[in-house]
Amino acid sequence: MRRDYENEKKDMVVVEGSYAVASAVKACRPNVISAYPITPQTHIVEELSQFIADGEIPNCEYVMVESEFSALSALVGSSAAGARSYSATTSQGLELMHEVLFNVSGMRLPVVMTIANRAVSAPINIWNDQQDSISQRDTGWIQLYAEDTQEISDMTAQAFKIAEDPDILLPVMTCMDGFILSHVYEPVVLLDDDLVAEYLPPFEPELKLDPKNPKTFGAFADPNSYTEFRYLQQQAMDKALKKIEDAADEFYDLFGRYYGGLIDTYETDDADIILMAMGSIVGTIKDVIDKLRANGVKVGLLKVRSFRPFPVEAIHNVIKDAKVVVALDKNISIGLNEGALFTETKGSLYNTKIDVPVIGFMIGQGGRDIPVETIENIVDEAKKVMDSGITVESQFTDLKEELL
């Protein structure tokens, strides 16, 4: 994190997180927006609708579709026709888009979509966890997770820059914790139109649906060529590792705000215990670290900003000298009893020379509060692993036995 808060204060306004996102989208000059309302994403699309109604986003069409499935489908068409294209959704809406997600990434369409992370049914639950976007991990979308409203706002511009880079051409999900970030009012610096214009060039794809230069999009690929399409998508993801870093650095140069590229760290240099997490929970973890550090506990935070592509090298560089690593996940792969960040981190270490124990905790599901004490208890568990090895590899936290 590199920011000059004192200097930023004069430009700050107190707005809802959703407004900050909508305002950032506006500054990015989209040509087509298509979305269907769903809690807790709704405020974003309402704000965008108002901007359109007030003529504040020139050269932009808002397609008011009948479902999330059609929202993303419309953007398949618009993006292929050369329009900068944006949507926002969450939870069931994102699940409904699942098939189209593959279509967008397979045709290399640089759509940007904000996810206001929310639990998925059943049972129905509108509150925050990250099961929705994590469930889409293999759809070929870049996935970035934001810590606070300022970051999700700034990440919007970075996302378009990453997505539309001719070397990348992959869709990007920018993920913010539903309600916790989408509905909170915080002081933020809204993106300045002129600076964004300087940062983000117009979207001019080399190939588009153009009668003057007819091309076929989404052709039928048989076993003779399908593999190569997949390989090229993976190659673009590999290239995105650097592009995500570059986009963050260039953003810092112009706007003076930096939250990490692929990852960010807090107090990790000499840390025995490193907590890994994504999203708004990293704020709570930083507070706990401050408290524990004051008591001499050598604990640090590894914030994962990019979950896809998964930044293996960057993560290894941070955790290689730790004595224990703890991954905190607001999701679960049912049947494995592990959260995704834990599984991916643990898996990435196999076949390396890094020998560090990794344990996982599944926390905050369906919007359950994550108090400071929960994080402190997790650090206590990590200390036990440090002293006597792993007893439980991955577990739920704060289960209410009386409800089972």
């Binding site: 189209v100 649906l209 009668p211």
Partner: protein, 291 residues
């Protein structure tokens, strides 16, 4: 009129899809963008790295070509490129009447300026002749087979043109690939009318219906001549033009040509079913004033 569907595609001999696509492009001209969903048409015209499309073409999923077309229209509007370019979504009966229904309904309700061409071959031909919402009464398909107790599909065709007209479409027409001039004229009328327009093209499938590959046009014409497939145009929900059928032929003449109706001529009680099908034709004669 230049054909913009290059020869050498992988369609069956006598393929109705190829004809429908060719006639549509003849009507639309070079300045158009086509969306088509998963189905025979996509598979046979776009085997990577080849393509039969001499205009910009994009594959949608099975169920969303109307939504993809909506996005293309929005993009051209936003970028000030919505001049003469025609946007056409083409879909089979499955992609239109069944799995794509919500997307089609949404696009027509929103009023995008595009034309939807339904190529109706009355079953899911790409996957092996399974029943669709457009499969006619008493047709045998692999999921509505005729059997010892069944005469095949027991439901009439879903009336898609009426559903589209109910959305407030300014132009809806039925046509048949057996009448190329009729189809080209109607698609041209559709793309020239502003707003969401619809052309429903009857398209006999040699494989799925079971007739000789040389008979596609003959079978298509027979559907019209027996009055089982009336050709008409609707403007703002009202029927404005109907193709008259002077001396309607008996439906047996049409049914006999196709393997999918074979059971009606071999199975006990088949003649009752044929009478019911004749009644459907008679109803059309009355309803659309075909004589």
């Amino acid at each position: 009129m230049k054909s913009l569907l290059a020869p050498g595609h992988r369609g069956c001999a006598g393929c109705c899809d190829a004809m429908a696509a060719k006639f549509t492009l003849m009507a639309a001209g070079e300045d158009c963008i086509v969306v088509s969903p998963t189905g025979c048409l996509e598979v046979m015209t776009t085997p990577y790295p080849e393509s039969s499309w001499e205009i910009p073409w994009i594959h949608s999923l099975f169920e969303n070509n109307a939504a993809v077309a909506s996005g293309i229209e929005a993009a051209l509007k936003a970028k000030g490129e919505m001049g003469k370019t025609k946007i056409i979504a083409m879909g089979g009966d499955g992609a239109t009447l069944d799995i794509g229904m919500r997307s089609v309904s949404g696009a027509f309700e929103r009023g995008h300026d595009f034309t939807f061409v339904c190529i109706d071959n009355e079953a899911y031909m790409n996957t092996g002749v399974q029943r669709s919402g457009a499969t006619p009464f008493a047709a045998s398909t692999t999921t509505s087979p005729a059997g010892t107790v069944s005469f095949g599909n027991i439901r009439p065709k879903k009336n898609m043109p009426a559903i589209i007209a109910a959305h407030g479409s300014p132009y809806v027409a039925t046509t048949s690939i057996g009448y190329p001039k009729d189809m080209i004229r109607k698609v041209k009328a559709a793309v020239d009318v502003e707003g969401p327009t619809y052309v429903h093209a009857h398209a006999p499938c040699t494989t799925g219906w079971g007739f000789d590959t040389s008979k596609t046009v003959e079978v298509a014409k027979m559907a019209v001549e027996t009055c089982l497939w009336p050709l008409y145009e609707m403007e703002d929900g009202e029927i404005t033009k109907v193709k008259k059928v002077k001396n309607p032929k008996p439906v047996e003449d049409y049914l006999k040509m196709q393997r999918r109706f074979k059971h009606l001529f071999t199975k006990e009680g088949g003649d009752e079913m044929i009478k019911k099908i004749q009644a459907l034709a008679d109803e059309n004669i009355e309803k659309f004033g075909l004589q």
